[in-house]
């Protein structure tokens, strides 16, 4: 027996897909600029710059909506990491992804109304959304107005540091997206999670719901 749980309200879905589209444009234009050259098959540099700048500005606005939305709606609690028993829960999830899933074991932390993210997802999402994204925004806006960047500080070239931080942040988000796209195929069917993020409903499989081990591990 299974039922549908409404997990993703419209604002989260709209934000999620807007975020996804903007990130894709930013990644493509970013890589194009990074590997630009007279003979490189990249997007024309000035076009790539405009694509990157416009998408970056819209992404900042989208992030503000995400940040405020999380505070107002309570969705932000999904990103709060419980440090008690953290290591044990992480290992449980890593074990599941690397071995358990092949043995047809049930996910140790199934998605439900009370818990949208498994421990690994929670940590990754929190680090990406609350560390790397702000890094990208701060450095990105600084690069839009390079005059505000200090020329040199403690022997470090300010422009170089800002540029490298932006590139590292951008790479980490791109890397996350790659892994995220794959892990999103690990539902009951490969498209289950993708559909959920379109319809807002998640299939609540009975055998997963209230998994006793997960509940116990959650409270350890």
């Amino acid at each position: 027996m299974s039922g549908k749980v409404y997990l993703y309200p419209i604002w989260i879905r709209m934000w999620h897909w807007t975020n996804a589209l903007l990130c894709l444009i930013l990644i493509v234009s970013g890589i194009s600029m990074h590997y630009a050259g007279p003979k490189s098959p990249s997007i024309r540099f000035d076009i790539a710059v405009s694509m990157h700048n416009i998408s970056g500005i819209i992404l900042t606005a989208s992030y503000v909506i995400f940040f405020v939305g999380n505070l107002v709606s309570g969705n932000g609690r999904n990103y709060l990491i419980q440090f008690t028993g953290f290591r044990k829960r992480m290992w449980k999830q890593i074990y599941y992804y690397s071995i358990g899933v092949f043995k047809k074991e049930q996910p140790p932390f199934p998605i439900g109304r009370e818990r949208k993210f498994n421990p690994l997802q929670q940590v990754t999402y929190a680090v990406i959304m609350y560390f790397f994204m702000p890094v990208i925004f701060i450095t990105g806006w600084a690069l839009l107005f390079p005059d505000i960047i200090v020329e040199e500080w403690l022997g470090i070239n300010g422009f170089a540091a800002t540029d490298v931080l932006h590139i590292v942040g951008g790479f980490m988000v791109s890397f996350f997206l790659l892994i995220h796209l794959y892990f999103a195929t690990m539902g009951k069917t490969p498209t289950e999670h993708y559909k959920s993020m379109i319809t807002g409903y998640h299939e609540d499989h009975e055998e997963h719901a209230g998994h006793p081990e997960a509940k116990a591990a959650d409270h350890k």
Binding site: Y35, F45, T139, V164
Partner: protein, 314 residues
């Protein structure tokens, strides 16, 4: 003092930095020049007219005024005036026919291969001869048009901050090309509104502050530190990726001297490891690139293996 923001590596504190005031250079004068500069170092000069037995004051023609502060910072600061000008100038009043004296040309001294051969003055001269400054019809341009012998100081081959190098070198071009100066007088062809002509550049002012005119308006030669073959405007570089790329044109022009110095002092490897950021999108660190490509390759490898096992175990 300017307050600017800086993003620090790990914790991202926004700190305040105070720009240090430019240090005042120590100026050493040449006493041999005091006599000349007593008149030519001022906008007004006085002399005793023995016929009228009066002290006469005249305004010095502006092209004959020598800024002694600039002079004693320029490349020829150790020179006596009479090293280039006739020693008869030591007599007053100056003879009128001295105005017709044949002035030495730069290459009279600089053509000597014994004179700092690394500076390639012969090549500079040859390149200049090919440039639009020399080939343009009725050209009146010579070395001194850009390198004022009384004030020009070398900046590229020095420890100067690159922004100062850019500002100083661009000021030389702007002296004629700003549309307010010699260019109009020489050619009656006003080149006003330089900014309008460069509107195609994103943030032209930022570009003017960060790169020299010659970065885009010259033909680069690897054996020259500063290109002198100024090309006609139709041949100017207008491809962004020429500078904003891994093999940035700036490495062969503006940053060339610093990169050469870095290679000599710290070895080739240091330039590969620390690869400087030259402009946005210039692929700053080969090491970071390698790490990122390895991470992506590993991720793809992991995903493929994981998927295959999932499919196999289905």
């Amino acid at each position: 003092m300017k307050i600017r923001f800086f993003i620090l590596l790990a914790l991202l504190p926004i700190s305040v930095s105070l720009r240090s005031q430019d240090s005042i250079p120590k100026i050493e004068s040449n006493p041999d020049n005091n006599f000349c500069l007593s008149c030519h170092g001022n906008r007004w000069y006085t002399y005793w007219n023995s016929d009228s037995t009066q002290q006469i004051q005249h305004k010095m023609f502006k092209d004959l005024v020598i800024d002694s502060i600039e002079f004693y910072q320029n490349n020829h600061k150790t020179f006596a005036c009479t090293d280039c000008h006739s020693s008869e100038y030591n007599n007053l009043p100056h003879k009128s026919d001295l105005k017709l004296e044949q002035m030495p040309a730069c290459m009279d001294c600089h053509d000597d291969s014994e004179f700092k051969p690394g500076l390639n003055f012969k090549t500079i001269s040859d390149e200049f001869d090919k440039s639009v400054h020399a080939t343009r019809e009725n050209s009146k341009t010579n070395c001194w048009s850009c390198h004022n012998p009384h004030s020009y100081r070398i900046t590229t081959r020095s420890e100067h901050n690159l922004k100062e190098v850019v500002a100083y070198d661009n000021s030389i071009c702007l002296e004629c090309h700003s549309g307010m100066g010699k260019f109009d007088l020489l050619y009656g062809d006003p080149k006003s509104n330089l900014l309008a002509k460069h509107q195609w550049l994103p943030d032209p002012v930022k570009h003017f502050k960060s790169a020299r005119c010659i970065e885009c308006h010259t033909e680069i030669r690897e054996d020259m530190l500063v290109a002198h073959n100024i090309r006609p405007k139709e041949e100017a570089v207008k491809t962004c990726a020429a500078c904003h790329s891994a093999d940035s044109r700036l490495k062969h022009t503006l940053y060339k001297y610093q990169l050469q110095q870095q290679r000599e002092e710290k070895g080739v490897f240091s330039t590969i490891v620390s690869g400087r950021v030259l402009a946005v999108g210039t692929n700053p660190s080969p090491i970071l690139n390698l790490i990122s490509l390895l991470m992506v390759a590993m991720a793809f490898g992991g995903i493929i293996i994981h998927s295959l096992i999932r499919i196999f175990k289905k």
